[in-house]
Assembly symmetry: D3
Homo-oligomer: 314 residues x 6
């Protein structure tokens, strides 16, 4: 079986199918145009430049296309790249499904779907149960397929569900150890807290921020959806249950500086925020250390104050 893009070592010959993730026409210092491409498959990304791109290549080699790529693995300013010797669109009988070349959550979609159903069943409070079911009747598919972010943590297809379900598991375990916590409120909050990302972001491929994502933000966007769902379900927005679920979701960034309009002021809100940080942190460290040699330090991790983490010998 063919090697994946990030498995090639320096100077190795690459011969592989991959997805074009981005394609930019650029100018060399001396004024010639060339094509800067980023190839990807489910192992990650590899950039490369096509120095004498024909007009036809410039037109056909666009994001979303599957190509057969040949070249040599090199490095530029310490970053891996491919020196392209040949690149062409995939042909009939060759791989052609972009989804096969995207990074996915480490758990299958069906499995995540089952977990989602199980967690919803654990919410026996009728207000929260109906509210969650109403919202997942609309956003079910996006929840399972969207990334949890444009870059940073869980920035892969299915990342949103993987992250949210992971926090739901942490919530369930924590409520076992600390019975003073309301596990239903925690689980409902875990499932809903980042659901606004499905409106904030453009989708799982070539993910961008939408205009309302930029100008309103995912926290207010999911609050909007909660308000509209409650309106349709004829729930009283001033009831304690509605105020609590909105608060838990609104406050999940923990600090105003991070975009929450209120700081956690209910025990479950504080805890949900901390679990969010733990899961995001572990995912970022794991992803960074996966690319790091033993006994060395990872690249700096933006989402963790630009710290570098040490990979131990075992």
């Amino acid at each position: 079986m063919a090697k994946l893009l990030t498995e090639y070592k320096d100077t190795e010959h690459i011969d592989s199918f991959s997805l074009i993730k981005s394609a930019d026409i650029r100018l060399t210092k001396t004024g010639k145009t060339y094509l800067n491409l980023i190839f990807s498959d489910r192992s990650g990304d590899l950039p490369g430049n096509l120095w004498d791109a024909t007009d036809e290549q410039t037109k056909s080699l666009v994001p979303g296309k599957i190509v057969k790529l040949q070249g040599v693995r090199g490095a530029y300013q310490d970053k891996p790249q491919v020196q392209i010797t040949n690149v062409r669109l995939s042909e009939a009988g060759e791989p052609d499904n972009p989804a096969d070349f995207m990074i996915h959550a480490p758990i299958k979609e069906e499995e995540m779907n089952d977990e989602l159903s199980d967690f919803i069943l654990m919410i026996t409070n009728p207000t929260w149960n109906r509210l969650v079911r109403k919202l997942f009747s609309i956003y079910h598919d996006q929840f399972l397929r969207y990334p949890a972010a444009k870059s940073n943590h869980h920035a892969f297809a299915g990342g949103l569900a993987f992250h949210s379900l992971s926090i739901a598991k942490l919530s369930r375990n924590l409520a076992n150890q600390y019975p003073q916590l309301n596990s239903e409120l925690l689980i409902a909050g875990a499932l809903l807290h980042d659901l606004g990302k499905t409106i904030e972001l453009s989708g799982p491929i070539a993910t961008q921020y939408t205009i309302s994502g930029n100008l309103i933000g995912h926290i207010t966007l999911i609050d909007e959806q909660i308000v509209l769902a409650a309106h349709e379900l004829h729930f009283d927005l001033q009831s304690e249950e509605m105020v609590l679920i909105r608060h838990v979701v609104l406050a999940h960034h923990g600090l105003l500086e991070y975009g929450s309009p209120v700081r956690p002021a209910v025990m479950e809100a504080e805890v949900l925020h901390q679990l969010d940080e733990i899961d995001a942190g572990i995912q970022m460290m794991t992803a960074a250390l996966d690319k790091t040699d033993k006994n060395t330090f990872s690249d700096r991790i933006f989402g963790l104050d630009n710290r570098r983490f040490y990979k131990t010998s075992e």
Copy 2:
């Protein structure tokens, strides 16, 4: 005509009707109970202690009641107080309307109502016009009677309208000087930006934060009302007009640290935030300097980084 409460000088005899703003039963250091009262009229507050309150007095002298107060103006730790010689409920034929004893905006309610109508007429964009009219059909009376804050700036009856209309005037003038500004968006934003305070606060008398005020906050609460109004008017939440008006309102605190979930990213949002700061700042400085002697410094103003301001000689 009787003097107002804050007009009495030290050692002067007080004989005046006033409103009981708060009444707390307290303990002296040696263990005796007494009644700590705050009296107020439209000139401000004056505290005083009733050292040997009877059971009947404890029951009848409660917040909201009008009383006839007699005593001597003194001071305790540099703060004015009244040494009470007599206090009783107002009787038939004497003043009995609490509203007559509250601090009000310096402009009459009818005049503010007229100004509000004028400004709404200036908004010719149909989306914003209908949205604003829809919301004022619900919150018209509260807008004219609520304070703009529990304490801090414009914390008096009618303060919300006085503050909002003042910003609308600044907006109109600014848009004249800088034609690149959209005056309709600015005016609509000025009228709506603090309207969530009518849900966040309990009302004009003995103002407290409501539960949803504390846990959700006035910025998200007015966004909720905008969303529901747009839903009823069948407006598309993704339209540029809806995104802009929501953004301008959401971003009006300027910084995430001050509770806006997004920072201003549209010119009018940045400007509305700055006008809000100017009007609030001038109101706080004016109120503090009104109580300050010439050629001395005011008390520290909490909302202006605890600065003291100098009152000039003319």
Copy 3:
């Protein structure tokens, strides 16, 4: 059975045995001396003043003594206090063991001892296992009896063990969900991270900071003990295992500003820090909400940025 000190309501008569936690001779504004006492039992504290203390009372009513206290529950500046009518030392046949009047961890000492043994057994790495056992051979008893802090979170007898074991449990569960984490390093770190408090603090009663606690601090003090233990066990301080366990303990405050000399740079160090925050946070919120009425806000919690938390209706 007699009521506990914090169970009395305002104006109720108190007749109770309690421990004198502190006793200060003070001066009234008019220059008379009196005795300011803080009484406590396992429900909490209650202050009171003895206005005409005899010389004999001043000498005998000292911290650590058990007394029979009679008086009336009142309040001074909204804080509960007792108006003392009578107070005398406990006599023969009456309660006389201070330990019976102290607040304790909610789990029994023996149970915590068993949990400690179980967790040590889970550490199969010989370096960490021998190191942990060596240190607990010295600090075993203090670990089970010290508080985790002078004030703030887990400031009660047994708090250190209760807090450390709680984090060990969180560690074990987390390592189940995230197999990329080294559970043995996490558990060893959980058990050792605050053990320096046994040198930093004076003990479980009338807890004070020691001189080395103030000038060196518990983080460096436990590092000192780890270094000396490793020296005696002939471990190489430059070995990865020794560097890792020291790093995890040194970095557990997360930020330099909070007194860690290094920030977490190993995945388990970051996670241990976050679990420490979660357990401390839940304990502080739980303690504050225990004293709060439903549908109201708690007092401000110093260790959580002075936030107040809302107690829900169920």
Copy 4:
């Protein structure tokens, strides 16, 4: 009529007169020298490299010269540049006045001069009037021609006057709405607040900081000039009028962190600071949005916390 430099689209042929703003001799990675030029006209800047500059070209193509430029508009790392095909000095009969190629304030110098006179007339307080007239008798011409900054806001010829007069207009309008403000103090402050820039900066072309600009700063430099002018006018530096005008100017950056040696402590000082921020902010946003396509975001604006602003569709 010829297009302006910034009006050319990618790949268009440029044939245009322009001013050389800067010219640096540089080295390619492989060690050859080339000439890096920045061309400008009243529409803005365009950089370009002359790869095989002759010695004569290196000597003659220097800042301040007008050249005839021919080439193709391209881009390098997303920034527009020109691929030069030909560049030569302008000849007899062709444009040769650098002032024609500089960006200017949108209002004519004479008009600004009239406005200045009008505002000075509004200052009837004799101390402030004579002080302002004394200073403008010295700095009149520089006031009208200097930029308001080296880069950032109003960094164009005449920017200082344009900015100062704009704030004077805002001051006049604000004092109308809030009669508690002293409009003369505000207007005098508006005219003087940035006048020290005429000493801090080297001039309107190729603007640099002077040594005293760097080591003393424009705020202290204008205070120095005010002190010397007052000295010559035999004004008492301890008079309230002199203290106030100096305070208003010294405090106009609002925060110590921004270089004011005192924070605003007089109402007019606080307001002048806020108007300064509003005018600078609007100018920066306007300049950035002028270069931005509709429905997209501007470049980051350094002077506004690196925020990007959205350009609406109309």
Copy 5:
């Protein structure tokens, strides 16, 4: 010889002459007036209340008067105070010079005067020498008698000279160890840096901020005096020597946040700032530790980030 005020122990009888530093008429909680007095001598302060002050006492016991004080040393809220039994104005033949009751610099005025002359002689650069001599021809006496601050460090008569000369000594020694430093610039800066305090503060007794002290500040006030002196001496303000000496003085607070309008950008400016911090720090620590028992911690020192310092056993 009579004990000094701060040398009395608790319960000791006081019989002593002292200076009245402040005298306020206050109200007890139950509404009676009393006289709150602060007595002082060269050992420090002692407050006390005169509970039944006659009208004559209220009029005669005013700040600046010397009194014969009798009473008992007690404490109120852990702070020493005197319970007054008798207090009367000093009579003929008794002490009557306020200066004898003020805290002074530990070095005699004449000695400081000699040191000042010596340091001025070390400045051989004619510009700086003449400038310094010009300014000391005006401010010589105030320099020797003013405190260096209202409270905080060197807040005693002669503190300004004591502090400035101490920094001059540090400067001389430092320039010996680091010959790259210009010792004349350092010494001139040391002598002038705080001289503006003679305008900022009202004088050595009952020290207050003046209006120009509050609104302009001592840094700009000494710059003003330097500018005027240079003007009279016909020095060029743009000469390097004038720019340097002004910069060194303007920048001596080190950070903009601390009120310097520019940060140090010349080596001597950076060093002067650091020496200022060292001398102020040592003085504050010394003063605090003088009042602290061995093996305990001092009170918190405001000017050192509210830290407490430990007094060692020898």
Copy 6:
């Protein structure tokens, strides 16, 4: 005699022996490999690229080798570089000792050794004397040869001793001026404070952080060595002398944010921190100004908040 590397001017021919400080194989934008070299001698560094390196060159031109370098001095992006025409390893009879090509402290090693002995003799307190001697019996040679940092201040061979002894001199002088300071504690602290750098850093050539340097840090590493030395000398870790010397060393970074686990809480600790800042600051400014032309500003100095410093004309 041959010129040193940093003495060559632009376009001059270089013919010189130098040390290879680093050698990296890199890729050009068009995919060819080349060798990026940094040459150095005791005047500083000079980078250069070998565009067509043979395999043999790639293998032999490695860090630590002495080479004969020929080429032309040029510049790339304003930074000096050499355009290499020839480079070969030094041969028999030519220079071959790397130490001759390293930057050294401006004082000879023997002289620093003598100073060290003198300072140790000044410490007459037996605990501190024996402790310091014990530690220098182990780290004597590294102390004299290590740099004080990887980059930043005193980043040259012998920098650690040069910096530590310089602070010891400042300490001795300061204790003369302020007799309240314990000079022995200050000197012992000065000698030990950075000694942990000998464990934190890899050595004087091609200096890197060690693993324990990164994960434990030099402050805790020297504390570890002090603890072990005290253990061997049978000193009581709870004695005041041991607590003080550890505190002074632990607190020398002054702020928690800078990595000290405790803030200075003893006078000598505060002073040692300030002297450390002064010596480091002067060294950084001196080094930067050595490379700066008169009447211009230095490059930004990272360790001094990125400030640039002005070099005066004499």
